[in-house]
Amino acid sequence: MSEKVLMKGNEALAEAAIMAGCRHYFGYPITPQTEVAAYLAKRMPQIGGTFLQAESEIAAINMVIGVASAGKRVMTSSSSPGISLKSEGLSYLAGCDLPALVINVQRGGPGLGGIQPSQSDYFHATRGAGHGDFHMLVLAPSSVQEMASLVFKGFDLADKYRMTTMILADGTIGQMMEPVSLDMGEVREYDKPWAVTGTRGERKHNIVNSLSLLPEELEQWNIKRYERYAQIEKTETMYESFMADDADIVVVAFGVAARVARNAILAAREKGIKAGLIRPITLWPFPKAALKEAAKHAKAFVSVELSMGQMIEDVELAIRCSRPVLLCSRVGGMIPTPEEVLAKIEEADKTGGAE
């Protein structure tokens, strides 16, 4: 195993992208993800890659579409307001079945919002990244190590399923430094016979396209895509379970919220409350089965989020509302304290979540 180094989350993810074979990056400056662009502006020219600062977020995501169409690994990064602008492109990526990696280092919203950490783009990432029926693979790193390893894995999943992988990070994980091992293993290569690289006079022309004016045909495209999604839900769901096996109170949290929750769970256990954590690593597909299983022994759930309560809907759906789900949330760039999470765990324990 390679030596651990101390790196910022944003830099670790940029380096992992290079290790995954990404040689094309397009972006536009926005806090708090600018380190990604700054790092790659320095690194890409050293390795013969392309770093290009686009005229807009919209142009950047369309340049991503261009490289993805040509069959090469490509990424862009931004923060919440910039991701809104990229939404059109995210829909086209899905409609064209193109693989790409998009980073959202979230900040508080709506509108210009603030620049401090947030998780309030959960709905956007898992539900409404753009017009039309589609999903992205959504990965939520909770440490600097995961900023690197999920980027590496994200590129692989994107190629494997011809989908966009979104890394849904937050300003805290992006800005913090932790020891990280950049031992990522081998890059798996995928055949891309659909890519537009020139026919060389040897094959019929390839067309990368999302348009069909025939409803019967367009319906089939959508159905085929959702068959693939169903497969992914079966095989690619990832989560971490911490003291959840026997838990009466199951906390569900991702990203920085999960780290805060971990402190609270240890404090709750010291007080004799059997609390545990289920941390979704994939937000889509959401770890429904794990939560449904936990509902067999848990008397209540607590969803900890840096939003007004978005993931809580997925928790309730996953357990079919069979148990109460309490919300512990701070927004606008605020982060819940372990004490606040503990208080919510205690409330859930006392009342069983009954209002």
Partner: protein
């Protein structure tokens, strides 16, 4: 054992670098570490701080709202964070820039005339390292002999000429 450290001061006082040094010390001693800066609109001269957590067990939250150790490099930092220190905790502060004493009696306070000492020694910008030297000694967090090794790692390649000065500054604080 987990130690929460908060380092605060003006931009340019080496606040983030001090935190980075401590985080690297932890890494080289095989501890779990996190380093988290405050971040804001890009500007010079504003206040900034960073949280460093060093632990024997995996670290949950990287925030240190209630530090065991506070390093305050200016008055606004002491004003803002003095009351957050856990009872029994420690504060190290630059008494050349902070004229008041520490009001709390349930924490141990270490005034260090760091800016004056740094000026006298001819390296005005290294007051932070003097304060940190004192802090390393009083907390006894790391073996003294590891300090030079960590420093060599943290000081960037193009600033290696500052390595010896940094060592001297830490020693000044350590031997205080």
């Amino acid at each position: 054992m987990t130690t929460n450290i908060l380092i605060s001061g003006f931009g340019g006082q080496g606040v983030l670098f001090t935190g980075k040094f401590l985080a690297y010390e932890g890494l080289l001693e095989n501890k779990e570490v996190t380093w988290l800066p405050s971040y804001g609109p890009e500007m010079r001269g504003g206040t900034c701080n960073c949280s460093v957590i060093i632990s024997d067990t995996p670290i949950g939250s990287p925030l240190a709202p209630y530090p065991d150790v506070l390093i305050a490099m200016n008055l606004p930092s002491l004003d803002k964070f003095e009351n957050d220190i856990v009872p029994g905790g420690m504060v190290f502060y630059d008494s050349s820039l902070i004229e008041r004493g520490v009001a709390r009696t349930d924490i141990r306070a270490f005034p260090i005339p760091a800016t004056k000492m740094a000026n006298d020694a001819g390296f005005a910008t290294l007051a932070n390292m003097i304060v940190m030297g004192k802090m390393l000694k009083e907390t006894n967090m790391f073996p003294a002999e590891t300090i030079d090794k960590t420093l060599a790692k943290v000081v960037s390649a193009r600033k290696q000429n500052l390595l010896e000065l940094n060592k001297t500054a830490i020693r000044l604080g350590y031997e205080l």
